[in-house]
Symmetry: C2
């Protein structure tokens, strides 16, 4: 993390980084650990979202991109601001006060944080630890994990936003590799929304969307009949957007 910039003490950004492993939805969490310097006893050990304070001369959106790149190495990623959290007691837990004290970076006790969520194709991402451990966790687990600060509330809101948005905007593809099978796409929708979907109806609907285009290749290395692959064509999507006004995905 670049520390040559001055940051705003009262404003941070937290990124909810979502990924999909073809089975369930996952989220990136960063371990927060503090051992008593005298006894060596672990006093704090829990998880936070990927976040940092915003620099004085940095656009808000860029702060989110910076954090994302810093943790995943990725650029040109789907990233969307979804809410800002500003209760006075969002740093209320004992652990949180202690943490701010021991890291001693000049962050204020009163911090508003702007939440962004990122959708990434996690099949080929390597996460960067820097000084703290970082890893993927199933979203369902993360929601019961008692995260630092108000990060559980932030995660819940990010998930709600994603669930809503996926019904009207073609953002699910951001979580898949360039080529995907219809079953993978269906599993993704099911993982996000929690509903189960009828296979035949799902395929019928997707196959008549002109921007979901079949490829000549087939799936490879699977112990069963290989599935046809598709990709999402954004150009076709944009061109046909008006005709489809009001349709859901």
């Amino acid at each position: 993390m670049d520390l040559t910039h001055k940051f705003l003490a009262n404003v941070s950004v937290d990124c909810v980084i979502f990924g999909f492993d073809f089975e369930k939805l996952n989220v990136v969490l960063v371990e927060r650990e503090y051992d008593d310097p005298a006894t060596g006893e672990t006093i704090i050990r829990d998880y936070t979202l990927a976040g940092y304070h915003i620099f004085e001369d940095e656009d808000l959106d860029n702060a989110a991109y910076r954090i994302l790149k810093d943790r995943t190495g990725l650029e040109n990623i789907y990233l969307e601001q979804f809410a800002t959290f500003g209760k006075t007691d969002r740093v209320a837990k004992e652990m949180d006060h202690l943490w701010l004290k021991v890291i001693d970076k000049g962050f204020a006790d009163r911090v508003l944080t702007v939440g962004y969520f990122a959708l990434i194709d996690s099949t080929k991402v390597k996460l960067f630890s820097h000084d703290s451990k970082i890893d993927w966790f199933p979203v369902d687990d993360a929601l019961t994990m008692d995260l630092a600060f108000d990060h559980q509330e932030i995660l819940q809101k990010a998930l709600d936003t994603l669930r809503n948005k996926v019904r009207t905007e073609p953002i699910a593809f951001e979580l898949l590799p360039e080529c995907f099978t219809l079953t993978q796409l269906q599993n993704l929708y099911q993982a996000i929304t929690g509903n189960i979907i009828d296979k035949r109806n799902f395929r019928k609907k997707k196959l008549q969307m002109p921007f979901i285009v079949p490829r000549t290749e087939k799936q490879d290395g699977v112990a069963h009949r290989p599935a046809r692959l598709f990709h999402f064509d954004r150009n076709i999507f944009e061109q046909t957007r008006n005709e489809r006004f009001g349709n859901l995905f």
Copy 2:
């Protein structure tokens, strides 16, 4: 405005206060005027949204409620956070720098602002001027008025959010008096979305919504057949929410 609190220099809240006059959608704007102290010549004269910095010991949401109450006297109003604006150049115009200098209240040049929109029944509201003039403007006009700072962008985003949300949540009623006619409701939807709606289909749909309940009173003092009045029953709405999952309004 209460100045005994210390505020955060880098964070403000701006409220987009929407109202409806049974014809079109309106928004509250505050005049910003500065006359050259020597010549008396008017140097700045334009409009801003209703906003202020957030106090150190104040929840973010409460800052928005405070601003709203300060300008309208109203409490228990529909108020929703919709986005946060944090470009480094959002105070880039010459007028904006000058303004911050002449009002000299200790606001920073780098300010992130959190946007809220409010929906109020404007039929019986009296706006409070304090030291600057304040008034309702048609949203369509306001969008072409070259507002202060990035307030046009904020207004546009608020409007987009309202347009979207009104399709899936029962928030339109917040802009009407307790009792309203179906024609008023239809005009409101048309004013928000810009679409024209078929009268018979609209009424058919609304009449079968159990939470839009008829009253015994009729409209009064109109030079034509008086219309039946209705009100929105939030309890019935909440009770039947699950059955109607996925329905639009």
